[in-house]
């Protein structure tokens, strides 16, 4: 019987496009393995296939249906009330007046981005830092705006360049345009760039690798190996941990309908503060004095001493 049961993860786009989605895949697989059931991943491409995939997961009586991203807000809001026996986990967004079978895991990306900004500012020799986003959607402002905030907080005289957006036909997968943007920021004096551009990040890394003294900060997973020596650090979004934990909580009946993950909960992390930073391959590993400052700042964020506004709420 157990073999017929599957946990289903529905992604908004093809998994290859975004490391973040790959984390979700790892997460659902971990959760399924823990329960001895199968994990299925349905990749959508557009609103109607997303809805079809969620519907299909419901139809196959999956006890747990996890979905990733804002794209699913409306879909879950529509389908969850009609299917009370299916438990839904939404990553990244919550729906207002959610029915009982909907759980959401949201992240306070602004916290990690804030730390990244601080780190960039503290290590910058040119006193100029920048951030490159894939697409000007409200969600990504959590990264870009908070990065700027963190940089300014760490070092008042730092110059944060206006955010560059990749845009174009394929913003999440256009390394060439990303490289151009990065080169432009570098030529404008930046020597630290936070790459918030998913599949386009490679272009940013290439640009900093080519310029002496310039470094980038990676996104969602440890990207320091992508351009050894040119990646300062990465912000991690631990969907691979949060998702199985949430599912476990649902099964145990201990899960709360809305959980927010940040630095305190270990849902987000700047690699610099990790215990295994030494083996991370990130440049920051060789700058213990900066790590100390960052850890200090992290403690203040966790304690609430530093309050970081949510750019999306504005």
């Amino acid at each position: 019987k157990a073999e017929d049961v599957s946990y289903v993860l529905v992604t908004p786009s093809r998994i290859g496009v975004n490391k973040f989605l790959g984390l979700g895949k790892t997460g659902i697989e971990k959760a399924a393995e823990a329960q001895g059931v199968k994990a299925r991943i349905f990749e959508g491409t557009d609103p109607s296939t997303r809805r079809q995939n969620v519907q299909a997961a419901i139809d196959m009586k999956a006890p747990i249906v996890a979905v990733m991203g804002f794209e699913f807000g409306d879909i879950v809001a529509d389908l969850a009330p009609e299917n009370p026996e299916t438990k839904f986990v939404i990553v990244d967004t919550c729906i207002p007046e959610a029915p009982e079978n909907v759980y959401c895991a949201v992240f306070r990306e602004q916290e990690a981005a804030y730390l990244a900004g601080a780190e960039a500012a503290l290590t910058s020799t040119s006193k100029t830092v920048g951030v490159i986003g894939a697409l000007d959607i409200p969600f990504l402002h959590r990264y870009t705006d908070s990065f700027a905030l963190g940089a300014k907080a760490a070092r008042a005289d730092v110059n944060v360049l206006p955010t560059s957006w990749i845009g174009g036909d394929n913003p999440f997968q256009d390394p060439v345009r990303a490289q151009t943007q990065a080169a432009l920021q570098l030529s404008n004096g930046a020597d630290r760039i936070y790459a918030v551009a998913a599949g386009s990040n490679g272009g940013v890394f290439k640009a900093v690798a080519e310029k002496e003294g310039a470094m980038a900060i990676g996104l969602d997973v440890n990207q320091c190996g992508d351009a050894p020596g040119a990646i300062l650090d990465s912000t991690l979004k631990r969907v691979d941990v949060v998702l199985p934990a949430t599912i476990d909580g649902i099964l145990k009946g201990s899960a709360k309908p809305v959980v927010s993950f940040g630095l305190a909960e270990g849902g987000l992390q700047l690699l610099a503060t990790a215990d295994d930073v030494a083996s991370s391959g990130c440049v920051i590993a060789g700058k213990p004095e900066v790590i100390t400052q960052i850890k200090d700042m992290q403690a203040k964020i966790i304690s609430g001493e530093i309050a970081i506004p949510d750019p999306m709420a504005q």
């Binding site: 093809r14 299925r40 349905f42 990749e43 491409t45 557009d46 609103p47 109607s48 296939t49 809805r51 079809q52 995939n53 519907q55 299909a56 139809d59 804002f70 794209e71 807000g73 409306d74 990244d92 967004t93 207002p96 000007d136 959607i137 409200p138 969600f139 999306m312 709420a313």
Partner: protein, 343 residues
Amino acid sequence: MTAGSLDTKSRLAAILLSIAVAVVLGGCVVLSTGANPLSVYLEIVKGAFAGRGLAETLARCVPLVGMALAVAIALRAGLVNLGGDGQMLVGGLAAVLVALYLPVPGPARAALALIAAMGAGGLYAWIAAILQLGLAIPFLIASLLMSYIARGVTSYLVRYPLRDPATGMPETHRVLSSARLPNAILDLPISMGMVIMAVVAIAVIVNDRSGVNGFEWRITGLNPRFAQYSGTNLPRQTQRVAFLSGALAGLAGALLILGQQYRFTDGALLAPGYTWSGLMAAVLAMASPVATVVVSVFFAALQVGGFAMERTLGLPAVLTWVLQALIILCLAARPVLFRKRRT
């Protein structure tokens, strides 16, 4: 009225043969991944037509048929409309604006939204026609360039002034249930969108076969000089056809928004590539409305079935693309298969 019946038969044979070839070729690709081609095809067919699949196929037909007919009616009259994306976007935006903000009762909002969408899409295409007539900018280029502009402008509007701050996406507020198009009529899995599109398709087909306007457009497409010499007012006709083509694209956008998505989300209308699928269907059908509808339905089934197959068999998703591409290439290559008949 052309002696087409015999021709239609052999054309149909050619299409069936090329699908068969594609199925065999696709089967080889599937085999190479170690999967069983028979079950792949079975799942595609089941996914497209069995259970919920049928409704989903029909739902996908709504925009696809709309966009394909938009291209077809223009093509029939000799205009190549590459601006479907833009016309669909302005149509969709107009629809959502009316549905969200016009202070009239719900159902009236939906109706007015559809009209506004057709007007907006039509006007957008009409501008491209005017650019061709007045300034000698080819319609094909003008409509394509205007598409990009519509993309940027709608994207800006839903990102900033029209944005619903409750979501993390650049998208408008959600249309109230009362202003949406019903998704099931008489408890059947038939949506209002399907009904509207069916009526439109029938109108286009009847007009093409028996209407004086359709006749005039078709002859113009065959030989504009002849049409002009026979007294057709070509500029006026170009404007009308462009308007109608754009209006159809706008309608497709509105039906997606009022019947499926309920809000205008940046990128959502264009993500499935309805414009290109539609162009492909219309060109394959040589702009004959009946054939255009048939080919569009086939594409819709193929796409829906492909996703279903992917889910049930867990095969690499891109396999569906490869299969689709092969089928399209074989369809396009049918003169190769039937080349003997040409000499």
